[in-house]
């Protein structure tokens, strides 16, 4: 079994532990919950229950000598739940704004979320744009280049992903982890309860793939 924490064979914990709050935003049914399920549990359900309110999950990955624990808020997509969203992105260090590459409206909605985050969220928030359902590329309506140039203009990380095939799912979280500042403030927070915290939520076989390599 892969060693999922920052523990080394001699039992000593090496490196630092950072904890980050990450929020997923985007139109209904673009695949927010599916991306999280793939990342946290390595699973995919063709029909994922619609999320009411928000779901909370955690996942830990290793990056060089740093253990990064994501506290993930997976929010409801329907427009009328919008007013509840600020409590989830407030104080978040990272956000993944998701759209469906087969649905133009969801790309428009993603841009609206990006604008709102740039205006209302923490100024240093790391935003990633995920064009999900890449496995349905034959039905694509949002061009890769269009999304890439939008992301470049706005300083966003960008990847096309597929929760179904797992394409780029771990990668987008990893790219976010790399971009996040790992300073004292974030390490201190997780420091006192690391032993127990780090054993929960990190059960996904997929996610361990990029852990402690």
């Amino acid at each position: 079994m892969a060693n999922r924490t920052a523990q080394r064979p001699n039992g000593q914990t090496q490196g630092k532990i950072c904890q980050f709050k990450l929020v997923l935003l985007g139109e209904s049914a673009v695949g927010k919950s599916s991306l999280v399920l793939r990342f946290v549990k390595g699973q995919f359900h063709e029909y994922q229950e619609s999320t009411i309110g928000a779901a909370f999950l955690t996942q830990t990955i290793c990056l060089d000598d740093t253990t990064v624990k994501f506290e993930i808020w997976d929010t409801a997509g329907q427009e009328r739940y919008h007013s509840l969203a600020p409590m989830y992105y407030r104080g978040a260090q990272a956000a993944i704004v998701v759209y469906d590459i087969t649905n133009q409206d969801t790309f428009g909605r993603a841009k609206t979320w990006v604008k709102e985050l740039q205006r209302q969220a923490s100024p240093n928030i790391v935003i990633a744009l995920a064009g999900n359902k890449q496995d349905l590329a034959n039905k694509r309506v949002v061009e890769y280049e269009e999304a890439q140039s939008y992301a470049d203009e706005n300083g966003l990380l960008f990847m096309e992903t597929s929760a179904k095939t797992a394409m780029n799912v771990n990668d987008i979280f990893l790219a976010i982890a790399k971009k996040l500042p790992k300073n004292e403030q974030n390490t201190g927070q997780a420091g006192n309860a690391q032993g127990r915290r780090l054993t929960e939520g990190d059960t996904g076989p997929k996610a361990t793939g990029n852990c402690c390599k």
């Binding site: 209904s28 049914a29 619609s50 009411i52 329907q78 009328r80 739940y81 007013s83």
Partner: protein
């Protein structure tokens, strides 16, 4: 331990989760099965004409659980849905014909995402079709609400309990338009109000829990949005939800706050032991697995014993105070 005698699918077609505790459930059911038989006999004696006029005895009987085979007729009567149907100009069958071509995309997207693990919804297109009709007709005839995610779970469970499309429509309409606060309108003001009402109730009756949750910094919306929006469907075990709905249809929406307070109280120790938001959220997420919550009979007793001062009158005053 020998294999459980209980199936992996419950009587409403829901797959029991991996974390389902067959031992706890077995202990509860061995007793509850006797209760169900006894209650069914009592209902047959006292309400042999199936006329459910409001009375102290009916209220008491409903709190002890409506027998499954009487739920449809009893819910229709005590909720006022039957009266609404008879007095209304609306004809469900006509509306269905009228609206069947005006497709509502968001409802269609949510159909396969409503109880995907339930054998009735997964293996029988009839259920999805009925659910589509109900939600679509509802959305068209109530433009203030339209379709709000969450209604799919309520209508879905109503359908599984009643097995009847038109009855489900009328019960849904009665719930949303007569019984529940304005949870589902575009601004969701009724929901925001009930978060504040819950906050005040917990502060008054469980100040220690209130302080702890405040210190950790969890807004009530984080832990309880789904409680209110889905009126506990897909939140508590199915049988417990139906017992809550028995009382909800007769006594009104104060029941939702009583259930909320009871759930929080049952988990007092677990909540107080948490030290951060992540731990606190996991307590809220796993509430359906608590033995006292699985024991729907005991749980319903709790919601009335614990909070005898939470009358409809009191709740309405609090809602007025926190109105958005």
């Amino acid at each position: 331990m020998a294999d459980s005698i209980y199936s992996k699918v419950d009587e409403y077609g829901f797959q029991r989760g991996e974390d389902f505790d067959y031992r706890v459930y077995g202990i509860f059911m061995s007793e509850y099965i006797r209760t169900l038989t006894r209650r069914a006999q009592r209902w047959n004696v006292v309400f042999k004409d199936n006329k459910f006029k409001r009375s102290g005895i009916l209220k008491r009987f409903i709190r002890k659980g409506i027998p499954a085979d009487l739920r449809t007729i009893c819910w229709m009567t005590v909720s006022g849905a039957e009266r609404l149907k008879n007095e209304s100009q609306l004809n469900y069958q006509l509306l269905k014909l009228k609206y069947s071509h005006q497709v509502i995309e968001v409802i269609q997207i949510d159909l396969p995402r409503t109880f995907p693990d339930n054998i009735y919804f997964a293996n029988n297109e009839g259920y999805s079709d009925m659910l589509y009709n109900i939600l679509s007709v509802f959305a068209h005839q109530n433009s203030e609400v339209g379709y709000c995610q969450g209604l799919n779970y309520i209508a879905g469970l109503l359908l599984l309990a009643t097995k009847h499309e038109m009855v489900t429509f009328w019960l849904l309409k009665t719930l949303v338009e007569e019984i529940l606060p304005k949870y589902y309108i575009r601004t969701m003001t009724g929901l925001l109000t009930d978060f504040d009402v819950l906050n005040e109730i917990v502060q008054k009756y469980e100040p220690q829990i209130h302080r702890h949750i405040q210190n950790i910094g969890m807004p009530w919306a984080m832990g309880t949005t789904k409680w209110f929006i889905c009126i506990y469907a897909d939140v508590l075990p199915t049988e417990t939800v139906l017992r809550v709905w028995d009382c909800l249809f007769y006594e009104g929406s104060k029941i939702l706050l009583r259930v909320a307070l009871a759930l929080i109280r049952i988990h007092k120790e677990a909540i107080l032991q948490t030290s951060d938001l992540s731990e606190l959220m996991s307590v809220f997420k796993n509430m359906k697995n608590h033995p006292r919550v699985i024991d729907c009979h005991g749980f319903i007793r709790d919601i009335f014993n614990l909070s005898s001062k939470l009358s409809s009158n009191r709740i309405e005053k609090l809602r007025l105070k926190h109105q958005k």
